[in-house]
């Protein structure tokens, strides 16, 4: 689905991403892990068209998408979330979701003016869809709350909810689990699995929670110092000394899932 | 050639005055996140404070300068306490409109207290020295010197005091500044005090070079903002360069375009900067 070919990017003297190549297979949930500052988010930013790479190429289903603007990628079915939640803080939770569906009739000003009744009808359907998503994420009671007033974890859920409002093909999730309560995290994983199974979404997930990665992802890519150092399924990676050294450590967190 | 050199001298002169105004404006902009539309009127009232000192105590203008700066600093802090402080937490645009109202109030106060006709610190004309084909007048040297000294003092303040860094922290993240124990109110007061004092200095120097008039500052406001933008918002050093560039560009422009379009030069430079180098012409910050 997404083909990353020799992508590099430097910030000043800092080589944040170096010659990274891998493929996110259609229908997979690909994990991306690595120590802090490894370049994972930067790579996401490059794929999502937010910053241009210094070199390299990205294709989506065979089509070159390097350097396309974010919104154009969205229309090609590529959606992302942010590590630091990017909610619309002064809009309600519901509106945050209703905004997302693409090609709404009412987004063309002339159509809003000339065929307002059709616009309202369409908007009602979108509203129903948004409520379904909220109920699914168990934050339905917050639907009229301003998104800026949500707690840290609730914002993460909302972020995920926004990706559920689209007909995306590929979704890039940047640390969906950070700050989310463990119990809810289980639900979240379930949602991701279901979207993957039922709607055929392809995912690429950055996450530091090894339980979540182990449960969801296959294969998993490991980055360190900007480069791809290993890949494979989680069980193999746990045995990889390089990965242990750079990332997992030997303590409880790295081993938690294995227990 | 001599014409260009002569115009450059005038440009630098105008630029020094703009720079003093712009340094204050840019600091207020940086810390409080709004374009302070009463800045020109701070300049004017500072100039009039100095006028009072000059006429009442019969002092030379430069001696009145520090007094005027102190008074204007106090006034700026006072206005902040009475008005701006109450609306700091709402949108910056409210502050902007409010500063516009402040401008109206200050300007009408000047008219009520000092009257609305032209006044001067010193009657008569100072004849310039002639250096070859160029002319330079003693007052101009004073203006350059005063501007340079003030800018240097600001530099010391910003680099040698904790207050300088605290100012930048405030402009970055007000809540976190609070959490860190930075006394937000004190930083803001300092910002106003410095901004007010520098504006007063600019006003007095402008008054020395031209004349005093209630709207003398208002008409310089846009070039000052242009200098601020050109230098990059929140960057005092940038503002100095910005002021000089705008000053010279405005004076030199008369060589090529009708002088009726002269104010447009400042705006055109400003718009061009915004479009091609939105971070300002030079890098570096407080």
């Amino acid at each position: 689905m997404i083909e990353i070919e020799r992508i590099s990017r430097a910030f000043g003297g800092l080589q944040a991403v170096r010659e990274v190549s891998f493929t996110v297979e259609t229908g997979s949930i690909t994990g991306l892990i690595g120590p802090n500052g490894a370049g994972k988010s930067t790579l996401f930013n490059i794929i999502a068209g937010e910053i241009p790479p210094n070199s390299g190429r990205i294709t989506l289903e065979g089509e070159d998408i390097t350097g396309l603007p974010t919104h154009a990628l969205f229309h090609k079915g590529l959606v992302r979330t942010f590590q630091i939640p990017h909610e619309f803080s002064r809009m309600t939770v519901r509106e945050n979701l209703m905004l997302v569906p693409a090609a709404q009739r009412g987004e063309t000003l002339l159509k809003s003016w000339l065929t307002w009744w059709k616009v309202i009808r369409e908007d009602r359907a979108i509203l129903r869809q948004a409520d379904e998503v909220l109920d699914f994420l168990e934050i339905g009671h917050l639907r009229d709350e301003l998104a800026g007033n949500l707690s840290g974890g609730q914002k993460k859920l909302l972020d995920l909810g926004r990706t559920m409002m689209t007909n995306a093909k590929a979704v890039l999730l940047d640390e969906p689990g950070a700050g989310v309560n463990r119990t809810l995290l289980g639900k979240l994983a379930e949602a991701i699995e279901r979207l993957n199974r039922e709607r055929g979404y392809t995912f690429c997930v950055i996450e530091h929670d090894m339980d979540l990665i182990a449960r969801l992802c296959d294969p998993v890519m490991v980055m360190a110092n900007g480069a791809l150092i290993a890949s494979g399924d989680m069980a193999t990676l746990r045995e990889n000394p390089e990965v242990r050294e750079a990332y997992l450590g030997t303590g409880a967190s790295g081993q938690a899932g294995a227990a | 050639m001599t014409e260009i050199a002569q115009l450059l001298i005038s440009g630098i002169l105008l630029g020094s005055i703009l720079a003093l105004g712009a340094v204050g404006a840019t600091m207020i902009f940086g810390v409080l996140r709004f374009a302070h539309f009463a800045h020109g009127d701070f300049m004017a009232i500072g100039a009039y404070f100095a006028l009072t000192v000059v006429t009442v105590f019969n002092l030379p203008v430069l001696a009145a300068l520090p007094v005027a700066m102190l008074m204007t600093a106090g006034l700026a802090v006072g206005i902040d306490q009475v008005v701006y402080r109450r609306i700091r937490r709402v949108q910056p645009v409210i502050l902007l409109i409010s500063s516009f109202a402040t401008a109206l109030v200050l300007r009408s106060l000047i008219q009520m207290i000092w009257g609305s006709s032209n006044q001067v610190y010193q009657t008569g004309i100072q004849m310039p020295w002639r250096i070859g084909p160029l002319t330079l007048k003693p007052d101009h040297l004073l203006i350059f010197a005063a501007a340079a000294v003030l800018v240097f003092l600001v530099h010391l303040f910003l680099t040698r005091t904790r207050m300088g860094k605290a100012m930048r922290a405030m402009s970055d993240n007000m809540d976190l500044a609070l959490i860190t124990g930075i006394p937000a109110d004190r930083v803001i007061m300092w910002t106003w005090a410095i901004g007010g004092a520098l504006a007063a200095a600019a006003g007095v120097l402008l008054g020395m070079d031209t004349r005093l008039h209630p709207v003398m500052g208002w008409t310089l406001l846009l070039p000052i903002f242009a200098a601020t933008i050109l230098g990059g918002i929140g960057r005092p050093y940038g503002a100095i360069v910005g002021g000089l560039v705008i000053g010279c560009a405005m004076e030199l422009s008369t060589l090529i375009i009708p002088s009726a379009y002269k104010p447009a030069v400042a705006f055109a430079i400003m718009v061009a900067t915004l479009i091609f180098r939105p971070q300002g012409i030079i890098r570096g910050s407080i």
């Binding site: - | 002569q6 005038s10 009657t123 008409t219 000053g247 002269k262 104010p263």
Partner: protein, 379 residues
């Protein structure tokens, strides 16, 4: 019902300096008229309204005068940018006569105003000619022109240039300046050719800065002015020694006329010395004309007043001046035609509501403004 007169003056804004003295002129006239028995036995009432020198505020103020205060005629406004919008959106449609005492824009001559707009100052076109005449007479054969970039400045510069060149002079360069700048050094060096004198058309507000920078920068040493710069504060602030010998023109009545002398002494008695700023006597005359017209029409109806504005200047009529209001009323009541000779001149309105006029050639001598002579430009 008493006659109500509105004064539409810039009490704030750019022309504020002229607003207050103009209002004094109107006030003075009305006090005299009331002392002489008022109009149709009732004292005339004055309503003053501020235009802020802004058209939006000006039309609002004018409409308030007309509708709320119920004035029968308006004196004002000063700047053409306000006078004309007031005429076209308020007075000409409401049918209220309006006499500007200061708007000199040539545009007003041909304005479609249903004949409700008048003025007691001559159009800029005349002053330019007068100045060119004076300049030629003083042996000036070339001049640089710097004018304030508004209709006043541009109109005068145009009129001067064509008259001056027709008289054999040469305008070496001309340029409009934007008000409010801190430095005009670039403008000055653009027009200066090193020897010709500078004709500066503007107002003291910025004019003083320009003069100062011109002198300090050595761009010019000799100056010519128009009425806008005839202000004592300039000499006071810059020093007489640099300005002595400079000269200019201003619309001015012959001060040897009875009317002018009467005005001067009356003004002095009430407000102190007559400030050497223009448009006071023209405001004063405007108020007189309105009152006389009301008497002549025996009505305070605006349209009736308008219809009689020319009638009080019957060339065959008995000459009356501002001091003779009671007498003029008597004459009118007896059916005798009158010819009002104002403090600012004959103020005979032509078909467009314009007046011709006389101009002073003034000079600065020992720091004083001295009127050399008052003359009618040979058109």
């Amino acid at each position: 019902e008493p006659l109500r007169v509105g004064a539409l003056m810039p009490m704030t804004g750019d022309l504020q300096a002229y607003g207050e003295s103009s209002r004094n002129g109107v006030e003075l006239a009305i006090e005299e008229i009331n002392a002489a028995g008022g109009v149709m036995g009732e004292p005339v009432e004055l309503e003053v309204s501020d235009t802020q020198t802004e058209p939006q505020a000006g039309v609002d103020a004018a409409q308030r005068l007309v509708s709320v205060d119920g004035v029968s005629a308006i004196v004002g406004a000063l700047s053409s940018g306000v006078t004309i919008p007031v005429a076209s959106s308020v007075t000409s449609s409401e049918g209220v006569p309006q006499i500007s005492n200061a708007s000199t824009s040539p545009v007003m001559t041909d304005l479609d105003d249903n004949d409700f707009l008048f003025r007691t100052v001559p159009s800029d076109a005349f002053q330019g000619i007068a100045l060119a005449e004076v300049a030629a007479e003083k042996g000036v054969d070339s001049a640089a022109v710097l004018y304030i970039n508004n209709d006043y400045g541009e109109g005068l510069a145009d009129a001067f240039e064509s008259a001056f060149e027709a008289a054999g002079g040469e305008v070496v360069d001309r340029s409009g300046y934007e008000p409010g700048q801190a430095s005009y050094r670039g403008d000055l060096s653009q027009v200066s050719d090193g020897e010709s004198p500078l004709l500066l058309i503007g107002y003291p507000e910025n004019g003083q800065t320009i003069l100062r920078q011109a002198l300090e920068g050595g761009h010019f040493t000799d100056f010519m002015f128009t009425d806008g710069m005839k202000s004592p504060q300039i000499v006071e602030n810059l020093g007489a020694q640099y300005l002595n010998g400079s000269f200019g023109t201003a619309a001015e009545a012959r001060d040897d006329t009875d009317a002018a002398q009467h005005f001067n002494s009356a003004y002095e008695a009430v407000y102190g010395e007559v400030p050497p700023v223009p448009y006071i006597d023209t405001a004063y005359d405007a108020a007189y004309l309105i009152s006389l017209a009301a008497v002549s029409a025996e009505s305070t109806e605006p349209a009736a007043i308008r219809d009689h504005l020319r009638a009080v200047n019957d060339p065959d009529g008995e000459t009356v001046g501002p001091g003779d209001f009671a007498e003029a009323v008597e004459l009118l009541e007896n059916g005798t035609a009158i010819n009002y000779q104002g403090a600012s001149g004959p103020v005979d309105f032509d078909d467009n509501g314009d007046v011709g006029g006389t101009f002073a050639h003034w000079e600065i001598q020992n720091g004083e403004y001295v009127t050399e002579r008052v003359f009618e430009p040979s058109l």
